[in-house]
């Protein structure tokens, strides 16, 4: 599941804002975008709730106090003249004169780097031994209470295990879990009725 990205666009130029909004909504959903024509307007509205900021070079420099600590979450728009001297600008700088394809690519790089679609090793999809035990009991038709009693754990813990199992496997129903358990030899077909 992708998380909603809350983005503040701080740009005086309406067309730039509308264009960016279009790209973000079409290519990087889900996003929620707030637009502020001036930096002052953005400050007055509780600015730290945003995941990302998009602004131009002038505003960035003028409000460096705010943006510098947040520079990893900020995209700065440049027009190509400013960027020409240096072909390899930092990845969070986007030239407004670039072709659309390039801009999309740059936005993609930025969000991948920053947001980290949770990488697979930090979020292990394998079930733990405990989860397997819980799964075995679920597919045998045990209630949460029975599972808790059998494994000497609290009802809350059982629920947490169930939630984790569902998230890891992407399967919600008991029938689905049963199927998974048989397929993967967690339980043998004779143990339960399908």
């Amino acid at each position: 599941m992708l998380q909603i990205k809350y983005i503040a666009i701080i740009l005086p130029d309406t067309l730039q804002y509308v264009g960016l909004q279009n790209l973000l909504v079409n290519y990087f959903p889900p996003v929620e975008i707030s637009h502020y024509p001036t930096f002052e307007a953005s400050i007055s509205s509780n600015c730290d709730t945003f995941d990302y900021y998009i602004t131009n070079a002038t505003l960035f420099v003028l409000n460096a106090d705010f943006f510098l600590p947040r520079r990893n979450k900020t995209i700065v728009l440049l027009n190509s003249l400013e960027g020409e001297k240096n072909n390899s600008f930092p990845s969070n700088h986007i030239s407004i004169n670039s072709p659309q394809e390039t801009i999309i690519e740059q936005l993609k790089q930025f969000f991948v780097k920053e947001n980290g679609y949770t990488s697979t090793d930090s979020n292990n999809k394998e079930l733990t031994l405990r989860e397997i035990e819980v799964l075995q009991l679920i597919v045998k038709g045990s209630t949460n209470k029975e599972i808790a009693d059998k494994l000497y754990i609290s009802l809350n813990t059982v629920q947490t295990h169930r939630k984790n199992i569902t998230t890891k496997l992407g399967i919600k129903t008991v029938s689905g879990l049963t199927f998974y358990a048989i397929m993967n030899g967690i339980i043998s077909g004779e143990d339960i009725e399908l």
Partner: protein
């Protein structure tokens, strides 16, 4: 997605969205639409154009769901539509999936046990859906109709005006959940050799059933259920 309007040419709408074909069939409309507008077609088939358009538009747009408007339609109209979707599941979509699935299992065997398990899982889903449809036809729909018959003298719109309709969305619909799991199991957990073409056919058929059932459930839980609750309160 832009909404469909009464003055649009029906054939153009359907060409753009072929997934509407089973939906218009449900209303009794057959292909061979010619150049007629949506309004003309509705007149020809004696359909309430407003209702027809609302159903089509909610079918096409996941975000579009005009609750207030849908609740102004007559209970019998809504039940009639839900009944037709149920029949469509029984007569067309379930057999479709089953046909593909049987072929898929047969062509991919021997030796792939996971597929026959998928077959079994589908059967348990089918049973669940059959049960629900049977209950609809035998108990729930007749009950809803009898309520609305009782209140015939009072205009339905007024009923709904008086009662603050409390929308209670069923947090989890078993049918939808089973269907989602079936799809996700095939996509995430399939193993061994299998026939790719038939596998896609099965997933495609599951997907179109899932889409239809989601739409059915939206009407069921967010329109019919609240109307029935309001009628129950008035009758008691």
């Amino acid at each position: 997605m832009p909404l469909v309007y009464a003055n649009m040419q029906m054939s153009e709408v359907v060409e753009e969205h072929t997934s509407l074909i089973p939906v218009i069939n449900r209303f009794g409309i057959h292909l061979g639409l010619g150049d007629k507008s949506v309004q003309e077609i509705c007149d020809k088939y004696q359909l309430d154009c407003d209702f027809f358009l609302t159903v089509i538009n909610t079918f096409l747009n996941e975000e579009y769901f005009p609750e207030k408007k849908l609740q102004t339609f007559h209970t019998s109209q809504i039940i009639d539509y839900l009944t037709k979707t149920n029949q469509f599941y029984l007569r067309d979509q379930l057999p479709n999936i089953e046909r593909h699935l049987q072929l898929f299992i047969k062509q991919s065997l021997p030796g792939n046990n996971s597929l026959s398990l998928i077959g079994k899982f589908f059967l348990s889903f089918k049973e669940e859906l059959n049960d629900r449809i049977q209950k609809d036809q035998e108990e729930w729909f007749p009950y809803c109709l009898s309520l609305s018959e009782k209140l015939k003298s009072i205009q339905q719109i007024k009923i709904l005006d008086k009662k603050q309709i409390n929308i209670h969305i069923e947090s989890e619909d078993t049918i939808e959940a089973l269907l989602a799991d079936l799809k996700s199991i095939m996509i995430k957990h399939l193993s061994g050799d299998y026939n790719e073409n038939l596998c896609y056919a099965v997933i495609f058929a599951l997907n179109s059933l899932e889409k239809d059932i989601k739409q059915h459930n939206r009407i069921r839980y967010r329109i019919l259920t609240p109307i029935v609750r309001a009628m129950e309160e008035l009758c008691s």
